[in-house]
Amino acid sequence: MISIENVGKIYAPDSPEPVQALHDINLTVDENEFVSLIGPSGCGKTTLLKCIGDILSPTAGQITINGSSPEVSRKDNRIAFFFQEDVLLPWRSVMENVLLPLEIQNRSIDQDNHERAQEVINTVGLQGFEDHQPAELSGGMRERVALARGWVYNPDIFLMDEPFSALDELTRREMNRELLRIHAEIQKTTVFVTHHIPEAVWLSDKVVVLSPRPGEIHDILEIDLPRPRDKDTRLTEKFREYDEKLTDMVMNMT
């Protein structure tokens, strides 16, 4: 469970023009819940995610992850952060990329690590590509490697910062479906930043709409669509209603 209380973030607080990126954010993400953060650019959604992941520090308020601070959680390898790009190391093969977190955490690699990495690679559908270099893979496949790398050390929470934004629409759909499947299987508490509203509706239990300058929570919408979800979910009346409601909300803000 992630609990965010009165969190604020000011960039360059000592400069003549400090920027209030986040103001008084209160949010709870329950165990195994999938929560999306959406909002126009500059609403602070990535800043909030990076504060949860201890890549940035909030200037006000408190964040706890299963009772611990973000810093402790990060150092205990309880968090997997996924970036806007796949950030694969191009000089490492698929297998070596997936092994990277284990190599750093265990200081060495043994047979168990290899088995674990293989299992994760199989689950994301990349068996047979272990020895390929990232440059040989398509964008969707690279993103699967990034998923496997984040998941291989079995963290408690996934923090995803527009992970599919570099992909074309069809590949994005495919990765959304993949993420639905994997999330159903492994049940991770997930915070997902996106500006793609249908993606947020399809994947989430809860969509948090942020408004810009300063970044504040505008509204929180529970997505009451039954799981498991599939492509038919996108055709339902309810899906369209959520999509339109959120689109109106974000559009009226700017």
Binding site: R74, F83, Q84, V87, W91, L100, I104, Q105, Q133
Partner: protein
């Protein structure tokens, strides 16, 4: 074979054209061989002279190789330190750039005063001229690691050394190789100029001797041997680069 032909026909044709023009000018103006020999005369003059030149080639090669090796080790080491420690970089980098823009060769007489009339100042000059391109390149290479990759390593709680070992070294490699290539010319220039000043052997020494005797063919022979050495050396580095950097991320030549 066909591909080879396609790849090399343009440069080969241009080379032949240049040599022909050269020969033509010599013939038309009736220049004597002690002013400008034809390319053929130069090649033929190797006859009976090559064996005597090999020890000189070896001397220059060893000096340049020494300078290249030491210069690159120092360049990479300082480059990594400067990239890793921001304060050090801020304090020293402007001076590195300033020094690099100076003609290092101009310091040679000073080095001779300090190190004596022997091979030491030659080695020092070759080392310094080789070090700077690699230093500047490796600072860029180590420091230009992608911000998101650094955030990834932070999120994985990687130590500074792990980030350096797993990411920064690889990121710097193409830049370092670029420095390796540039410093081939640097160390050879350093060795040859050093020999002009203090040596009693080496191709640089032969150039001075040839100059005093107006032995233009000898001068050209020395230049050709320097060129052959540089080309082989450069080719070897390019080969190693292609074998080692398999992820298709060759840095742009920065000079």
């Amino acid at each position: 074979m066909r591909q080879l032909y396609r790849k090399y026909r343009a440069p080969a044709a241009f080379g032949i054209l240049c040599l022909a023009t050269w020969t033509g000018i010599v013939k038309i103006l009736g220049l004597p061989f002690y002013v400008l020999p034809t390319p053929l005369e130069i090649i033929l003059s190797f006859q009976g002279e090559l064996t005597g030149m090999l020890p000189h080639m070896r001397a220059t090669g060893m000096e340049a190789l020494f300078g290249w090796t030491v210069g690159n080790v120092v360049g990479i080491g300082l480059g990594a330190a400067m990239a890793e420690f921001k304060t050090l970089r801020k304090a020293t980098y402007p001076y590195v750039i300033m020094f690099r823009s100076l003609p290092i060769i101009a310091f040679a007489p000073l080095l001779i005063i300090w190190l004596g009339i022997n091979v030491k100042p030659i080695l020092a000059i070759a080392t310094i001229t080789a070090a700077f391109p690699t230093l500047v390149n490796s600072v860029t290479g180590f420091a230009s690691t992608d911000e998101l990759t650094l955030e990834l390593m932070h999120s994985l709680d990687a130590s500074r050394w792990e980030t350096f070992r797993h990411v920064k070294i690889y990121n710097a490699l193409p830049y370092i190789f670029s420095g390796f290539k540039i410093s081939v010319a640097g160390s050879l220039v350093g060795a040859v100029v050093g020999e002009w000043l203090v040596a009693d052997e080496g191709l640089g020494f032969l150039i001075i001797v040839a100059n005093n005797q107006i032995a233009v063919r000898l001068l050209f022979r020395a230049l050709i041997l320097i060129g052959i050495m540089a080309a082989l050396w450069f080719g070897l580095i390019m080969y190693a680069e292609r074998k080692l950097i398999t992820w298709g991320d060759h840095a742009e030549e920065s000079q």
